[in-house]
């Protein structure tokens, strides 16, 4: 199989800025306080992902998950090390990027799709599917600002999942959709995964990671703490003692909703 993502000794140094004015900086310096501080958000992270793998990226808050995703998306550049990806990336990290509240849903679909790298012809071809998936009907011709938060999330999700991508990155998932739409999204994500797209899924929900992924990477303070089997990974994080056997379907949907 082909390598899809290659992460090689990636480290990222962040500066903690205390947002001081010049005067405050001088005072702080005279008092011997720190003016600047740094910390490693990612510390020598290395792993390879094969095409078609479904990775669950887990870890406590502040462990560097979002930073790692931003590096894989290509938004950020590592301080040292290298990242290489193969093919086109899309993902829910960018849902609603570039949405303008005063523009119609239709116009925003085209804008968002262009940001995700789609051409006009591609968007034209996918438009019926996108609008059908979003289930917004003729509200697509009204300004997005009038949508409920659930509706605009649906619109963003609909665009993101219809990009013909090779790597799909899911971060902020389904916080506001209603139950039927959540179920539909889960189904769509499974469909994407089953079509051979490399899936990168960030979640705190053990249940949905178990369902979606076949490998877990756990980040701990910017380092890879665990990389391997899903169940072992969840055990490693002590996430396995939660809600053993409630109605699977329902609790999973609830879990998906409680993410971020």
């Amino acid at each position: 199989m082909t390598t899809s993502i290659e992460v090689e000794n990636v480290s990222k140094l962040f500066h903690k800025h205390y947002q001081r004015t010049l005067k405050q900086t001088v005072v702080a310096k005279m008092r011997g306080q720190k003016v600047k501080d740094t910390f490693w958000a990612l510390d020598d992270v290395s792993f390879n992902v094969e095409q078609g793998e479904a990775i669950g990226l887990m870890g406590l808050n502040g462990s560097g998950k979002s930073t790692l995703l931003k590096h894989i998306m290509g938004v950020m550049r590592p301080t040292s090390g290298a990242i290489r990806t193969r093919g086109r990336l899309s993902g829910l990290i960018a849902t609603g990027a570039g949405f303008h509240p005063e523009m119609t849903g239709r116009e925003n679909i085209y804008m968002n799709a262009a940001i995700l790298g789609m051409t006009k012809a591609e968007t034209d071809a996918k438009y019926p599917e996108i609008s059908e998936f979003a289930e917004l009907g003729d509200r697509l011709d009204t300004p997005v600002g009038n949508y409920s938060s659930g509706m605009s999330a649906r619109l963003g999700f609909a665009v993101a999942v219809h990009v013909d991508c090779d790597v799909f990155i899911a971060d902020e998932v389904l916080a506001v959709g209603d139950q039927p739409f959540k179920r539909k999204c889960v189904k769509k994500m499974e469909e994407i995964r089953n079509s051979g797209v490399t899936l990168f899924y960030v979640s705190h929900a053990a249940m949905s990671v178990r369902k979606m992924c076949n490998r877990v990477i756990v980040l701990e303070e910017g380092r890879v703490g665990f990389d391997g089997d899903v169940d072992e990974g969840i055990k490693y994080l002590h996430y396995d003692d939660e809600e053993p056997d409630v109605d699977v379907e329902e609790s999973e949907a609830a879990e998906l909703g409680s993410e971020i």
Binding site: M111, D166, N214
Partner: protein
């Protein structure tokens, strides 16, 4: 630590995977965007959408729509005509409203590209933080939006020239106008580009940009004739050189070469007490066109410098956006 595929997971068989995502021929690449102004050219479709979005958003919900982009400059011109032509002018400088408005077109283009470009990355931070784009696209889109508004202003300006009844444009004038726009477009893009990145690091720059753009209209010969500057600094050639070493001044003079001086017949003697005389040699500095070409070169170099500054700061932009 790779290849930990669990066999019982719900992943489809490798056959279908290989079928749809046959990526062996696709190289592994750095996922960050190919930056630079060249990278922006590669995303022309997105750029055009961004410009359209900005223009649509500006006039959305108003019944007059894009007609406002004509009404605004027209009202400004009529105000100039009233104040400078009727109240203050008393005819000393013929068609002073045109003199002023011709300069205003390029000065506005410059200051708008500069200020909106400076804010552009901060304004679009939700996109910048989520997707890899050549980030130069934001200040360039701002410049294009400002450029769009030049069209209506030129229509008003040409209309005013025709109303004078003595408008006789020449080819050299058209050439001058083109040079003026090339200078201002290059310079406005360069300033917008450079300060959009700097502004992410230190918000103080927005304030400084504001001060600069407030001062600019007074440092170019549009609210007063160039002859006055020439007269005042006749014995201090260094100061005059310094005054003229401003690309926007050059652009203003080139615009007046196209629109203003061509509305004054060479026989018009004006009012002697102000000392106005018609003619190119009196009202413009020598070597106007050569200077124009030199400033185009200078502006190009400055744009290259701005791109260099931008590239140096580019990697830190997503880290610094909060």
């Amino acid at each position: 630590m790779t290849d930990q595929l669990t066999p019982d997971s719900g992943v489809a068989g490798e056959a279908s995977v290989a079928l749809r995502h046959d990526l062996d021929h696709v190289p592994l690449v750095d996922p960050t965007a190919k930056g630079g102004l060249v990278g922006v050219l590669r995303r022309r479709y997105l750029l055009s959408l961004m410009v359209k979005r900005e223009l649509r958003a500006r006039y959305i919900g108003s019944k007059m729509g894009l007609a406002w982009s004509y009404i605004n400059p027209l009202s400004r011109f009529l105000t100039f005509y009233f104040v400078f032509g009727i109240i203050l002018g008393r005819g000393q400088i013929p068609h002073f409203a045109i003199h002023l408005f011709a300069g205003m077109v390029v000065v506005n283009l410059f200051t708008e590209s500069f200020t909106s470009g400076t804010r552009s990355i901060m304004q679009n931070k939700s996109i910048v933080q989520k997707m890899p784009l050549p980030r130069e696209i934001f200040p360039i889109a701002s410049m294009l939006v400002s450029l769009y508004h030049v069209g209506p202003q030129l229509v008003i300006l040409a209309g005013a020239c025709l109303v004078t009844g003595t408008f006789s444009p020449d080819l050299a004038g058209v050439f001058a106008m083109v040079m003026a726009f090339v200078i201002v477009i290059l310079l406005g893009s360069a300033m917008g580009l450079m300060f959009s990145a700097i502004n992410v690091m230190y918000r103080d720059w927005t304030r400084l940009v504001q001060i600069l753009t407030n001062m600019l209209p007074f440092t170019v010969p549009m609210m007063y004739p160039f002859t006055l500057v020439d007269h005042r600094f006749r014995n201090f050639p260094l100061i005059e050189h310094f005054y003229l070493f401003n690309p926007v001044t050059e652009a203003v003079l080139l615009m007046q070469r196209m629109f203003w001086i061509t509305t004054i017949p060479p026989t018009d003697k004006g009012k002697p007490e102000w000392g106005f005389q018609p003619g190119l040699t009196v009202n413009f500095p020598p070597h106007l066109f050569v200077r124009g070409l030199i400033f185009i070169g200078v502006s190009m170099l400055f744009l290259a410098f701005a791109q260099w500054v931008f590239t140096r700061l580019d990697d830190r932009i997503p880290d610094r956006l909060i």
